[in-house]
């Protein structure tokens, strides 16, 4: 049948039936097959749907006949999947891509690539997520597409939705885990999105960010690790070495700059912490390893509680968690010590869990808890699980070597075990006792004698070998017994296991050297037996020893030193945890568990010596308006000062200023640096002068000063405009409307902490409008407030005209009803309306009250019990004195200081603006930077939130 007839005939499927029935083995069919496939391809590629349908029908028919149509595959795929890829429904688009990308045939690589690229810029985040999932599939199908795929990954990394984040990082990890540079710009976004990403994505992101942080930030424990090293060295090094070391370290310590944590590093730690509460064990473990590898020593402790919680989970989870805890306890024993009892062993635990718990308990043992641990171990020895008993005995041995105080107690206990009925127990004890005796053999010759007697009964080869070694090594302590033991052993030599035979030869050699009179013949007998042994190791050993110890005329120079060779003082064994040094693998990883590098494992880099440029993480225009939850927004605002510290970034606070400045035409080099003050008209002469001086100074210094000045100057200029306002100290500005979203209108607000005169129950909010456009903005006013019940708002008077480049400040009052709920309203200009909301930090909901010390105590006495919240905290590095504490507390909350007799205490008082409830705050400082914070307030919610805020302020 000709191709053209097929084209024309609508029922070609049935018409061509006989054709397919031909003998497939004949050559003609094959050649025509090829031709026909070309036709079909043409039909599939054509624009007419009817032709495509026809081609498809024929292909299905061919498949039904068992013909090979695989070369038509891409053409078919293109028609089937690509149709759906353009479907208006996002779910169908996503599924089509999923199906397409799951076809593992290299021929469709180009189609797949196209589809992925298209989906990566799809409107629907779900489709973009599917695109991210398809990337590793294509990569494994054709690694040559890597470069193009990296471009797609880069694009998807910039995505701002939580749905995509986890999947794209997974693709990143699989395709290009070494391209750390792609993360910079997305780092902060990933940190902020993390809490809302689905749980599996969280694990992948956290693991990746751990690696990232190791390359970008400084070791937060750098100073401590130096100190640690020095103390460790001092323990081992001899005296003069030690002195030198100390000098060198002292010099190094002096050279070190005080460590300051990068705010981005802090951001990561802060945003991962809540995930310790996840129900997913993998997420908890991921956060735990992040803290272990990245957090300052003082903060790592918080992970212990969460890890201990995981021990309640399935036994497989327990197994993995315990492995990681075992590694952690070696470096940071302190953090698990409070949870010692959680590692106590139950008879129902599986043996592998028991042994891991034992490992942890052994690592946790120290002088103070050893007696409890040993008592616990004693009950373990009576267990029915013999493997576990053996491990317990070893654990006792390790405790004894590590903690000198209990060595004798342990040894006595182990000796008692020698009379146990179970041979395994005895054998294990012998092995452990041997190791312990090696540390101080002189005092324990009676134990050695006791063990010599055991040789008659114990059959376990390892134990027999240990006893023989002990007797040989310390034969001088048991001069009478040793030759007799050798006699017995010579008798049974041929029936012994290999390790025992080797030790018999050893014993013989040592006795020959010390007491040849009694043992010469015995030794020769043993050596003769060994000479004809089946095992070549034993034959070799016998030959070697004979040459060394038995003097002949031919014997070499070495035999003179035989005594030194055999009876040299041997160093005592160190009983180490098998988990020592495991932490060079990233915790929680498969490689760590196996203690071997798994395929695709990414090494955890060492901390850099000096931090790489942090400005790489700055983002051009931070899109604050996108964040969804209230809390998020608040947090980001707190971050503002960090971000705005560097150039190029447009922290919302300054962006408005720098814009207006460039308009004023001051010289370009310093424009961005001094933008904060450049354009303001009320500037005094003094300031201008100081600016000129600054121009000669280093850029960085300038920038700092500028920041300070902006802070200080703004209130000043405001007070010039509105005499009612006289803000105290530094006041934090919050953004109400970003100039981008406001189309040139930038609005900021702050809590001026002044009484709002029209209504004393309202909080005064000072709002500053800046017009960054080139035209006037008119009729600025508020509309449609949407408030929680009870909340009230007093609008500011409408601003009729705001000229281009001008700023104006007004005050409005809001009664927040003593809650931190946001007040939502519309900000209207003559052309536009913007939805905005003001959310007060809890500290702004109060106003100072002046109390005497006695009044304070009296009032505090009334607010006890439920109304008192008390927390312990560690003061931040900078909270060195009372002054700083007062400054921090008053910056956090609008409170006034209450005079106080003690210099260890700072007291503050205030009342809530709306209902006038008293708020009393006490900070008691203790030694070593610890402190106690107490808040008494009738409103418990306010109290709790205030405690949190002040804690944060003081611990920074």
């Amino acid at each position: 049948m000709s191709a053209s007839s097929a084209f024309s005939d609508d029922k070609a499927g049935s018409a061509s039936e006989p054709e397919y029935g031909h003998d497939p083995a004949s050559g003609g069919i094959f050649s025509s097959d090829y031709k026909r496939h070309d036709d079909l391809k043409e039909m599939l590629d054509s624009n007419k749907d009817s032709l495509k349908l026809e081609a498809m029908k024929r292909i299905v028919a061919m498949i039904a006949r068992g013909k090979n149509t695989s070369d038509l595959f891409p053409a078919v795929v293109k028609n089937v999947a690509c149709k759906n890829i353009e479907d208006p429904n996002q779910l169908i688009r996503a599924s089509a891509l999923r199906v397409l990308s799951s076809i593992r045939v290299t021929i469709i690589v180009p189609i797949m690539m196209l589809a992925i690229k298209e989906a990566a810029s799809d409107m629907s985040p779900y489709v973009r997520k599917t695109a991210a999932h398809a990337i590793p599939k294509l990569h494994s199908l054709d690694p040559e597409q890597k470069d193009q795929l990296i471009e797609v990954i880069e694009k998807l990394l910039a995505d701002k939705t939580t749905l995509v984040a986890g999947s794209v990082v997974m693709a990143f990890e699989e395709v290009c885990p070494d391209r750390i540079d792609l993360i910079h710009k997305n780092y902060r976004k990933l940190c902020n999105l993390l809490i809302d990403v689905e749980e599996w994505g969280q694990v992948v992101i956290i693991n990746m960010l751990t690696r990232y942080a190791r390359t970008q930030f400084l070791n937060p424990n750098i100073n401590e690790s130096l100190l640690e090293d020095s103390s460790e060295k001092a323990f081992y090094a001899s005296d003069d070495e030690e002195d030198e070391d100390k000098k060198a370290e002292a010099a190094a310590l002096v050279k070190r700059k005080p460590y300051v944590m990068d705010p981005d590093h802090r951001l990561l730690l802060r945003n991962t912490k809540p995930l310790l509460q996840s129900r997913n064990a993998a997420v908890v473990m991921a956060v735990a390893q992040l803290y272990f590898h990245l957090a300052p020593k003082a903060e790592v402790g918080i992970i212990a509680k969460a890890l201990v919680r995981l021990m309640r989970s399935h036994s497989e989870v327990q197994y993995v968690v315990l492995q990681n805890v075992a590694t952690m306890t070696i470096k940071r024993r302190g953090m698990f010590e409070p949870y010692l009892k959680s590692f106590y062993i139950r008879s129902t635990d599986p043996t592998q869990i028991k042994i891991l718990k034992l490992e942890v308990l052994t690592n946790l043992a120290n002088e103070t808890n050893i007696s409890t641990i040993l008592r616990e171990f004693q009950t373990y020895i009576k267990s029915m699980d013999k493997d576990f008993v053996a491990a317990s005995i070893q654990a006792i041995g390790r405790c004894a070597t590590n903690i000198g105080e209990v060595r004798d107690t342990c040894l006595n206990g182990l000796v008692q075990l020698l009379s146990n009925r179970d041979e395994l127990v005895v054998a294990e004890s012998v092995v452990v006792i041997k190791k312990l005796l090696q540390m101080q053999p002189e005092q324990h010759s009676d134990i050695i004698k006791h063990m010599a007697k055991l040789i008659d009964n114990i059959q376990v080869p390892m134990a027999r070998a240990s006893i023989l070694w002990l007797i040989g090594e310390y034969c001088e302590h048991v001069p009478k017994i040793a030759p007799d033991v050798l006699r017995k052993m010579a008798k049974t030599f041929t029936n012994e296991e290999d390790i025992v035979k080797l030790q018999i030869i050893n014993l013989a050699a040592k006795l020959y050297l010390t007491n040849s009179k009694q043992t010469k013949l015995l030794t020769q007998y043993v050596l003769n037996l060994a000479k004809y042994d089946q095992n070549y190791d034993i034959r070799d050993r016998a030959r070697f020893i004979r040459q060394l110890i038995v003097p002949t005329d031919k014997s070499g120079a070495l035999s003179k030193y035989a005594k030194k060779l055999f009876l040299a003082l041997k160093p005592a064994p160190v009983l180490e945890s098998p988990f020592k040094d495991r932490d060079h693998f990233q915790l929680g990883s498969l490689s760590h568990l196996l203690n071997a590098k798994a395929g695709g494992y990414q090494e955890l880099p060492e901390w850099p010596e000096s931090a790489p440029d942090p400005s790489v993480r700055n983002v051009e225009i931070p899109d604050w308006s996108k964040c969804t939850s209230r809390k998020d927004r608040k947090e980001k605002k707190l971050d503002k000062p960090f971000y705005s510290d560097s150039e190029g970034d447009s922290g919302p606070t300054e962006s408005a200023d720098s814009e207006s400045d460039s308009g004023s035409g001051s010289e370009s080099a310093s424009a961005s640096d001094e933008s904060g003050s450049g354009s303001e008209s009320e500037e005094s002469g003094e300031e201008t002068e100081s600016e000129k001086e600054e121009e000669d100074e280093e850029k960085e210094k300038k920038r700092k000063k500028r920041l300070d000045k902006t802070k200080a100057k703004k209130p000043a200029e405001e007070s010039a405009e509105r005499c009612t306002i006289a803000p105290s100290g530094s006041i934090k500005m919050y953004e109400l409307l970003h100039r981008i979203t406001g189309e040139g209108l930038a609005v900021e607000y702050c809590f001026s902490r002044q009484p709002f005169s029209p209504d004393p129950n309202m909080v005064a909010v000072q709002i500053q409008f800046t017009n960054n456009t080139n035209s006037e903005t008119k009729n600025l006013h508020i509309e449609e407030p949407r408030l929680q019940s009870g909340m009230r708002i007093r609008e500011f008077a409408e601003i009729e005209v705001l000229a281009a480049g001008e700023s104006v400040t007004v005050v409005m009052g809001i009664d927040f009803c003593d809650s931190t709920q946001a007040a939502n309203f519309q900000l209207c200009t003559h052309t536009r309306k913007f939805f905005v909301s003001i959310q007060p930090p809890v500290g702004e909901l109060m106003t100072p009250v002046f109390l005497t010390e006695n009044d304070f105590k009296k009032e505090q006495g009334k607010l006890m019990g439920m109304n008192e919240i008390s927390e312990k905290l560690t003061l931040g590095e900078k909270c060195v004195n009372e002054h700083v504490i007062v400054e921090r507390v008053t910056a956090t909350a609008n409170l006034s200081r209450v005079p106080c007799g003690s210099d260890k205490e700072c007291r503050f008082a205030g009342k809530t603006v709306s209902s006038g409830c008293l708020v009393l705050v006490t900070v008691t400082t203790k030694e070593g930077g610890r402190a106690q914070l107490t808040v008494n307030c009738e409103k418990m919610v306010i109290g709790t939130m205030l405690v949190k805020d002040i804690m944060q302020a003081l611990s920074q």
Binding site: I92, R98, R279, V320, S342, R346, S589, L594
Partner: protein, 418 residues
């Protein structure tokens, strides 16, 4: 990530396999079988088994091993947690997750596995999204499917995948709106020989069954939230709200879910509701041993202790036990040496006891080991930590739901050493 999955039953047969990337030969499981053989007990099979080219990560649930094949670095807990999630999903769908249940529903099982992982990376693990995609089997649907040849794949598109609250589907409707919460606390304890407590902890969970129309927003507050020392939440709980106000605020998933699990701070003394008086002794040279056990209530806050079950692994040397219980029934398995005594309810007026003798192998010496006694019990209407729910409020919907809260205390890992 996860390459393949094999399901292996207790007798070592692979009865289901699923591959997400290329096909891995069944022979990879030989390494697993070796490990099973090496381990004396099924529970002692190492969860992670390295082989030359792959790594096998397995979990054991209801006598079925779920063996995942891994080819490159992946956090082991990630895989373990996922496998448990698979089992939980199967249980949710079929009621149980036994070999028989999997075989009966093999089509649904494959459909589920296909949706849960995409190229080895978890895709949809939320039960409500899955249920939208694949309908759980019911008798009626199975009958219809066999006749019409249709499958359980849902007709509608799974919009839940796009939702910001992926754990709840939209358009839920009930005629009776109800929300039930069970506060269940378990006491984990080790009691030593003399009856003093070595360690005792309370672990609690709040399980919920919520059948509410629409998109309700619930808040649950406690009288004494400070008791909760360490908590982990269902993803629906707003963490910040808890941090700030100690209030659980959430849009609940539809149906049954675990809202919260918590640990009660260890500073608080734990009330131990039951005491055990025991005298288990073997005399030297005699082939008899004495066995006496008496249970009694202690610190039960006036509530009855029910469903008491005592079990103990006796030493290997014990041949048989000849005991008489004052109430309930006991069994002794001479092969496994497991003694179990189903006591029932403890009556404070007449304390339950189990007394008698044990016969030892003749000639065998007195066993060194002391058996431990494992206890199970239940106390209704009591949360032993004293935790109390203050109130439950609903926002966002107009109707009045029916609300209920139930408390219960159980023994967790409760052991008495002798």
């Amino acid at each position: 990530m996860i390459h393949s999955l094999f399901l292996v039953n207790a007798s070592g047969d692979i009865f289901l396999e699923k591959h997400w990337k290329s096909v891995v030969s069944r022979s990879v499981c030989d390494y697993f079988f070796e490990a099973v053989e090496r381990a004396t007990e099924p529970e002692n099979v190492p969860p992670v088994i390295p082989t030359p080219h792959h790594c096998l990560i397995n979990v054991l649930r209801q006598r079925v091993y779920f063996v995942a094949v891994i080819q490159s670095e992946v956090p082991p807990l990630f895989v373990i947690e996922f496998l448990h999630r698979v089992v939980d999903t199967f249980q949710d769908y079929f009621g149980v997750c036994t070999e028989a249940a999997v075989k009966d529903n093999v089509v649904v099982v494959y459909e589920l596995l296909e949706e849960m992982l995409d190229n080895g990376f978890p895709l949809a693990t939320e039960s409500n999204i899955l249920k939208e995609l694949i309908k759980p089997p019911t008798i009626l649907r199975t009958v219809v499917n066999t006749i019409t040849g249709s499958t359980n794949v849902g007709e509608q598109l799974p919009t839940g995948q796009l939702s910001v609250v992926p754990w709840r589907r939209t358009g839920v409707k009930y005629t009776n709106n109800e929300a039930y919460f069970d506060v269940v606390e378990e006491i984990d304890a080790i009691i030593d020989k003399s009856g003093s407590t070595i360690t005792a902890e309370i672990q609690g969970v709040i399980d919920a069954c919520v059948k509410l129309t629409g998109m309700p927003d619930l808040t649950l507050s406690f009288m004494n939230p400070r008791l909760l020392d360490d908590v982990s939440f269902h993803p629906c709980v707003r963490f910040k709200r808890w941090e700030a106000e100690r209030i659980l605020s959430f849009v609940p998933p539809d149906g049954n879910f675990r809202l919260l699990s918590y640990h009660v701070s260890s500073q608080n003394l734990v009330a131990i509701p039951v005491y055990v008086k025991h005298n288990i002794s073997f005399r030297e040279g005699s082939s008899q041993g004495r066995f006496e056990l008496t249970l009694g209530p202690k610190q039960t806050m006036g509530k009855a202790v029910e469903s008491v079950l005592v079990s103990s692994q006796l030493p290997r040397g014990v041949l048989n036990a000849n005991l008489s219980p004052s109430q309930g029934t006991y069994t002794f398995d001479p092969v496994t040496k497991l003694l179990s005594w189903d006591v029932g309810k403890i009556n404070p007026q007449k304390l339950p006891s189990l007394k008698g003798s044990m016969s030892l192998q003749t000639g065998a010496s007195k066993p060194d080991e002391n058996p431990t006694i494992n206890l199970q019990f239940k106390i209704q209407q009591l949360a032993v930590s004293g935790l109390k729910v203050n109130r439950l409020d609903m926002y966002g919907e107009k109707y009045k739901p029916f609300k209920g809260i139930k408390y219960m205390t159980k023994a967790g890992k409760f052991q008495v050493r002798t």
